[in-house]
Amino acid sequence: MTGGMPIGDDDLHGYVDKRLDSERMAAVEAYIATHPDAAAQILRYQEQRQALRSALQHKYDEPVPVRLRIAGIQAEHRRRWRRSLGRVAASGLWLLIGAAGGWIANEELATGRSAQVTAASASPVNEIAQEALAAHRVFAAEVRHPVEVDVTQEKHLVEWLSKRLARPLRVPDLSAQGYQLMGGRLLPASAGPAAQLMYDDGTGRRLTVYLTAEDGGETSFLYVHDRDLGGFYWRDAGFGYAVLGQADRRDLLATAEAIYRQTGDALPVSGR
């Protein structure tokens, strides 16, 4: 041994994949010169690596089908974008009508609220977490229809969910955490309606924020995880919250804190 770490299995793989620096490379070479078992192992890995590459080479060499040409995909993307812009313009009128209706309905809700609130109040917090997990599993996997109302209609989304949860809901801005809002949907929960907001990090990794109307006292952040999915849930300022994603605990906590900071004080809906 030449003073460095003893040669391990990871060095053999590093050697096969040519991922070692020259010093470590030399150390492995010296090692296998006197350890025929390790030399044989490396040879087997190398053969296997090459065999797998040859087995798939034909796929790499195939001509790329027309439908996978970027120019075509770009054109389709632009076309869809223009169409949705048209739809947004058309829905502007309906938004105006809806907003007027919402204004009136809000007055009604303010008086009818106390009854609804008792029905929704203080479900056990871990129930929020369980329902949020289930909702994440179902909808985060959706490729085509991840949300019911998408981000192009964010104002409508906020008004609609606020109305259904009977309190002003704010959509957290998580761009500092690398997540962009995709949109949201309304869901049934055991204690009443719940809202799910979905975010995406640009690579397809999704994060959901789940909200229910809750009037129990504040709780601290509680950690929940289920296989690859983790998150935090808590109760604060009239809402039960859960934030879930496939990220590590530290990142999820930072995201939960960002949401807490943005939603803590019950300011009226900004509507942007």
Partner: protein
């Protein structure tokens, strides 16, 4: 605009190869690559610098994982088993047999091991890049790689292709 195409297109053959190796069906694999490219085009402005290839593989991998979660119980090994029962293969097709056996053995590995083996051994991504794509620490990548290679060897030695193993593949630097 066409800068985006120039940066993405060189990686399409590799994306197709990876998707095919995981799904083993030409059409479904290209469907997945198409979803990946559509997403890449629409999220291009959200890309935060870095290597385009690793970014594309991350999108593809995430799409594969979420799609697989949806169709978990259906099982899609049929395409290879369909061609399995050919007999009397002439010498010229010996290569095809070896390749087929290799892909069948690959298919018998747990999916997470397949991904690591392909990203590192075939797509030549670094251990750190593979860790970023799969979303696990580098140490986990290393142990999956080791388990994958040993298990694949046992599968190939055991019942699939004892005497037909390629023997001329020495490429030590």
């Amino acid at each position: 605009m066409s800068e985006m195409a120039a940066l993405i297109e060189p990686h399409i053959p590799a994306l197709r190869r990876y998707a095919y190796a995981l799904i083993r069906d030409d059409t479904s694999a290209d469907d997945l690559v198409q979803d990946c490219l559509e997403r890449a085009v629409s999220r291009w402005h959200l890309r935060r610098g870095g290597d385009v290839r690793a970014w594309l593989f991350t999108i593809l991998h995430n799409l594969f994982v979420s799609q697989r979660r949806q169709t978990l119980r259906r099982g899609s090994h049929r395409t290879l088993e369909d061609v399995e029962h050919e007999t009397g293969i002439p010498g010229a097709q010996e290569h095809a047999v070896i390749h087929r056996d290799m892909l069948r053995a690959l298919a018998a590995l747990p999916e997470e091991q397949q991904s690591v083996l392909l990203l590192i051994g075939v797509e030549d991504l670094s251990y750190a890049e593979a860790a970023g794509i799969v979303g696990v620490p580098v140490g986990t990548i290393m142990s999956r790689l080791s388990r994958a290679r040993n298990r694949l060897r046992r599968l190939l030695d055991g019942d699939l292709m004892n005497e037909e193993r390629p023997t001329t593949l020495r490429r030590i630097k």
